[in-house]
């Protein structure tokens, strides 16, 4: 009996020591620390003004992490032609993809230093929240809920989109009002299904939805005739129409059901990293505004520059690169390897790509009546 007791006692003792070892408890020092902080505050009141600007030039933790790993982890789409698409040569191509490359060029002077992480729509915010990716550039709509509630921050809009409806030409639909009772194919996990519900409810029309996980299944099912219409952002509809059996048989209705500002997204909490993403995008817009292209950027740098903003953008004046923790001429690297905003647009969405008209639309520069507008680079 006593042996059994001793054995149990020793076991319990060993376990309790183990547990006790796991608990760091030093309550006595706390009171001392309070005293110390009070003293420090008195001494450093004068120094604060000196230290604050120093903190501003400090690099972001994420930028440092990206530099250390040698690669930018970019969350992208792999199934939307023109924006993020894995092509037949197993290369990621598209408008969003090029913004990832531009960021990599700004950080590493190498547009290939990107690890593309293809994500489905429901996965994308979780990937940001769990630090799986550094930046999400995956035709993501900026909304109040996502910005405020999901712990994500939105960068400048790179593409102003709106939700549309694709139907068969021979269906006889000329507007959404004709579509009462229709079956609509769409992809799950987007603002699309919410806008669709709003659009049909406000018109007092009934409808049925068919939700799929990937754009491939969605448009395949629509193509087979199971749905009367397919809905998504108009840019995606245009892109995916080219993948249908007979693209010419399908039209996109004129109505725009929603505002869809698409742009880069990053995890909340590292403003300096956000500044890097934001100003690379603005730099690309300013470059187009000033007529700097991948073809002429080296000549411009070599020659005499009259426009001071161009000099600042290309790192010949001021310390803008250093403030972001990047090379002084990072925009030169970006423009040389990826091109300016207009070049990115034309390459992917222009007539050579999925052919989404730009002139006179929201996606034109502000100087030509569009909404693309970058704050001054100074």
């Amino acid at each position: 009996m006593s042996r059994r007791f001793r054995f149990v006692f020793l076991s319990v003792l060993a376990l309790s020591m183990l547990i006790a070892a796991c608990q760091p408890a030093e309550p006595v020092i706390v009171t001392q620390e309070v005293v110390v902080t009070q003293e420090v505050q008195v001494v450093t009141t004068q120094e604060v003004q000196v230290q604050v600007p120093v903190e501003f030039t400090m690099e972001s933790a994420r930028l440092q992490a990206v530099k250390d790993s040698g690669q930018l982890r970019c969350g992208v789409n792999s199934g939307v032609r023109g924006f993020g698409f894995l092509n037949e040569q197993s290369e990621f191509v598209g408008f969003d993809i090029d913004f990832c490359r531009a960021l990599a060029a700004a950080i590493f002077n190498d547009p290939e230093a990107v690890e593309f992480r293809p994500l489905t729509t429901p996965e994308r915010f979780t990937a940001l929240q769990t630090n799986e990716i550094d930046v999400l550039i995956r035709n993501t709509t900026w909304t109040f809920g996502r910005d405020v509630e999901l712990g994500t921050d939105f960068g400048p809009t790179t593409f102003f989109d709106g939700q549309g409806m694709m139907v068969r030409k021979d269906s006889g639909f000329s507007s959404l009002d004709d579509m009462g009772g229709a079956t609509i194919c769409l992809q799950t996990g987007t603002t699309t299904e919410l806008n669709l519900a709003d659009a049909f409810n406000s018109r007092g029309l009934t409808y049925e939805t068919l939700l799929f996980d990937t754009p491939e299944d969605t448009y395949k099912t629509y193509d087979e005739g199971r749905c009367d219409g397919a809905t998504s952002d108009k840019s995606q509809l245009t892109g995916n129409r080219t993948g249908l059996a007979t693209p010419a048989d399908h039209v996109i209705l004129p109505e725009t059901m929603s505002k869809e500002p698409l742009g880069p997204v990053w995890a909340h909490g590292d403003q300096q990293w956000g500044d890097v993403v934001q100003w690379v995008v603005y730099g690309l817009i300013i470059a187009e505004e000033k007529g700097i292209t991948s073809a002429n950027v080296d000549q411009i740098v070599a020659g005499e520059i009259k426009d001071p903003e161009v000099a600042r953008l290309l790192g010949l004046e001021g310390e803008f690169g250093a403030l972001l923790g990047l090379a002084p001429d990072f925009m030169v690297n970006v423009i040389r390897t990826v091109g300016n905003y207009g070049e990115i647009y034309d390459r992917n969405l222009g007539p050579e790509g999925v052919d989404i008209p730009r002139a006179g639309t929201l996606n034109d520069l502000w100087t030509r009546g569009g909404l693309l507008y970058a704050p001054p680079w100074r």
């Binding site: 054995f7 183990l18 712990g151 079956t183 049925e208 009367d228």
Partner: protein, 408 residues
Amino acid sequence: MRAPAHLTDRIPLTTAYRLHSGLATRLAAILRDVRFLAFASQAVFVAAALAVGGWLVSNLLHALEALGLNLSFGFLQRTAGFVIGQGPAMERTDSFLRAYTVGLANSLQVIVVGLVLASLLGLLAGISLLSGNWLLRTVIRAYVEVMRNTPLLVQLFFLYFAVILQLPSLADRVVLGPVILSQRGVWLPRLIPSEGFNLWIGLATAGVLTGLVLYFRRVARRLRTGEETRPFVWAVGSLLIIVAAGWVLAGGRPITVEYARLEGLRMVGGTRLTPEFAGILFGLVLYTGAFIADIVRAGLLAVPHGQLEAARAIGLSELQVLRFVILPQALRVIVPPLTNQYLNLAKNSSLAIAVGFPDLYAVSKVIFSQSGQAVQTIAMMMFTYLVISLVISAVMNVINARLRIVER
């Protein structure tokens, strides 16, 4: 393990040394004690498991806190803002919780109907695998092998895209009598109760009860007296007379048949089987049925042949042989692996999103991407699937216990 007294007496030792040595030997003895080692190693393992689990949870909580998120379930009361295409009605203004229950109802519908159909298919195919008919046996064997050896997801895609969606469009729909086939679904006529239905159904119920009472009374009389009482004829006859009388009393039309008809873009009326429901249901049934077929075949073969011969020798009919000799023994072998297949079917139903059917998984995915509350939604979903699986297991365990050989 204290040394015997006569030994310690003979060896002269200082008190300090003796004390030290005593403690050391005792400690050594405890460390060699198998019971202590077993207990300690398990305690260490539990502590390590708890530590790892705790670290994972605290890591999650820290990460969520850093992003300003929390683990509350309050979001379930918020307006969902989307509609679900199939299953119980859901409005745009209903809550996320309502959406979740709609998804659950759709899943349960697939699982319950799937379990019944897969069991029937498996039973028939399993018996066919032992059939003397070469053609039947070979065809069923080919079906079983193809289904068992290809991935379910591939089968679902094939069934949905290559079979169901290849049916003609609504405009060119196939009309087979009362059944309408198209890629938008299969429509069957629906029976609608009309005026006088209550009277008729009341009389019909009375007719069934009368038939049952008559049947058992006449069976009892046959057993008692030995005369032929024809219980079946009496039961069916009385049932038919009462139901027909009710039909006439109720005004001739207690039930009307509603056929589906095209109105605008959609069919109105009738009962509809949507292509997506058909896709996931038949995909699961065909897949699971193949596994059940082999289980049934193995169960039937497990009954010793002598039992069959003995049963025939004492003059039992073929039906009685199956009912009283073969099945009770085969089921003991069949039920445990069958439980696994039932669980597989329930869990595989989460592949429904591949064919666009809004089951629990598909709806949960919409909920967590619209609300952003991934952790809670996935936890709820896992818990729900766990409960479904445990219920299936519990039911099958009860059946298994009932079939057990009762030893005296």
